[in-house]
Amino acid sequence: MRTRLFMAALAAVSLGVVAATASAGVQRAQANKLTVWLQVDAQSGWPDLVAAANQQFQQQNPGWTVDVQYQNWSDHLQKFDATLAGSDTPDVIEMGNTEMTKYMAAGAFADLTSSKSQFPNSSHWLAGLAKSGQYGGKVFGVPYYAGSRVITYRADLFKKAGITKPPTSLAQFETDLVKVGKINKAKGFAPLYVGGEDWYTALSFVYDYGGSIATTHGGKWVGSLDSPKSIAGLTAFKKFFDATQPKSTATLDGTSPFPYTVFSQGQTAANYGPAWYTCCTGAKYKGVTAQFVMPSHIKGQPMPGFLGGSDLAVPAPSNAKAQAIQWIADFTSTASEQGLEQKGNIPNATNLLGTSVNERAAARSWFVPQAKHWVDVENGNILKTMLSQILTGKLTVKQAATVASQNIAQTLNES
């Protein structure tokens, strides 16, 4: 009798599971729902701007709701790939500007060229950012916001070393840093904290000297890190690095530890990085932290800074493209962009630019080659390997740059 009960229970359980799988659940996608994927930076940094855009959108489209789902940089692309496989993609997605090209080339996004005029300030879009959203002459991404790189420093320590104004040339900066190093003999202290493998920094030197990562010749990519100008830039970087950094930072890439953590521990007087570093430089130094533009080796000019940023795109399988475009227009409105600017970001159009250090630094900027496989170069850590080889002395600048150049060309030219 008991055994029969057991058997019955078993059968019921297994049938239940099968039924659950087989029954096409009544979970159909809600009609009139817009799904938006933004990065968590928006959730923690400017949730009010998101709410305002949602409200505006809902007024324009009664009966529609907006479902904003926040994503992490580390896995949002894998998640996006899964939705592309299943055809239930979001209607709007935030993409990093270096991530765009691969997906544009694969046909992941809707063509927004004919709707360009709908986006506020589109005729004044920042050139660098706008380019990251274009492919084959068509527009697939709307610039969202950008960020350049600046020097965040300890005004008190600089003053103590007798430096009264920001340096106007790289040579001057190096001298200043050495002075700051002399008055701070704490073990492990570095006047400037820069990860040796932080290629955003190292390559700024390359572009400052007129070099580049790769160029196209007759439809094929050719690596140019081994060109004379690039090598000059890398050599200048090595010299600068050796003069201002402890040996141990040669193999660090600036994510572990974060430069601002080192800053907050009092172990460095300056960081070169995004402007929002001031968020995390420690309560202790809040009053004495300031910023200035990183100087070029050419006196009076800023060093070209990597222009990071995000675009907003509409995945091709979306069923709500018109609404998606409208939401993007609401979120990149003049008011919204001005809100982003106030939070320390660079807005997406030149007519909205202010005079913060971040925005002044963006006057000279560089960007990565716009190739379908650029993401693979980044993920393959080719640049980081090159830098650690140079800085640890394992290879000469010329050797390391030649190897990297060949690897980059090979990766970019993959089919």
Binding site: V17, A22, A82, C279
Partner: protein, 277 residues
């Protein structure tokens, strides 16, 4: 007698030393949850938080969806484990106590399925679930977890059951009960430790599972607690270590409670005999 006591003290000392080494990372996590920001980032480690603060716990508890996601995790894990364990137990009994054709094949399948790298199955599973509109549902995740836990449970439970001598059931059957009845009465209590160990493992594996939960669940109101945790690490900006450690401590508590509830079933005293003389 005295040497036995001395030896025992020696073992105890070793046990305590090992305890300290093993638990240190957990201790570090919990103590950090109580430290102030400065103590966390300081250059020299702070061993004990001298001015413990509850602000990190408060921050973690007040983050949106914490309680909702705890509830989701509990639902998903308890259902998966309950179903998987019962189904696996019967299969394990069949595999160890009966002879039937296809037995070897079934066994090979149980271990074979576990050899499939999970990463390889993410997209195919997603596509299948999407077809039945089970993406972004707790049911979908439950199904995936059951499938993940079943092969291992069958395989392990079989091992425990094999270790039990047949004489017992034979003795019971002499009394006139059916084979299955004999199993239930005699086997179940003896296999209890193994059953508990396996279900604890199933519970913990499912509770801490991240990849599938992350891929399948999009709405923050439907996510599990491990996905909720990952948001602390997501931004490019500073990781809030204090709150992350506080949040992690909180997510570990249900596991500890579950274990405490079932641990009595694992014999901690070697007091039972197998066959009475």
């Amino acid at each position: 007698m005295r040497t036995k006591a001395v030896r025992r003290t020696g073992w105890n000392a070793l046990g305590i030393a090992l305890f300290v080494v093993l638990v240190f990372p957990v201790f570090w996590m919990v103590s950090t949850a109580f430290k102030t920001e400065d103590q966390i980032n300081s250059l020299t480690p702070t061993w004990f938080p001298t001015h413990p603060t509850l602000s990190h716990f408060s921050d973690a508890l007040h983050r949106p969806f914490f309680w909702t996601d705890v509830k989701n995790s509990l639902i998903v894990v308890l259902i998966s484990v309950a179903i998987a364990m019962s189904v696996a137990f019967f299969a394990a009994v069949a595999l160890s106590k009966y002879r039937f054709t296809g037995r070897k094949l079934f066994l090979v399948l149980m271990i074979g399925i576990q050899m499939l790298p999970a990463a390889g199955l993410i997209i195919p599973l997603y596509v299948v679930l999407a077809r039945y509109h089970e993406v972004n549902t707790l049911t979908g995740v439950i199904l995936v977890y059951i499938a993940s836990v079943l092969p291992f449970s069958v395989w392990t439970l079989r091992g425990f059951i094999i270790g039990i001598p047949n004489d017992l059931e034979e003795a019971a059957m002499v009394d006139g009960s059916t084979r299955l009845g004999a199993f239930m009465r005699i086997l179940l209590p003896l296999v209890a430790p193994g059953l508990v160990a396996t279900s604890v493992f199933a519970f913990i594996t499912s509770w801490n599972e991240y990849i599938f939960a992350r891929t399948l669940l999009n709405d923050q109101s439907r996510q599990t607690i491990t996905v909720w945790l990952s948001y602390f690490l997501g931004t490019q900006r500073q990781t809030d270590w204090g709150s992350l450690m506080a949040a992690s401590t909180l997510t570990a508590i249900p596991v500890v409670i579950f274990f405490l509830l079932v641990q009595r079933k694992i014999a901690f005293g070697l007091t039972r005999g197998a066959v009475k003389g």
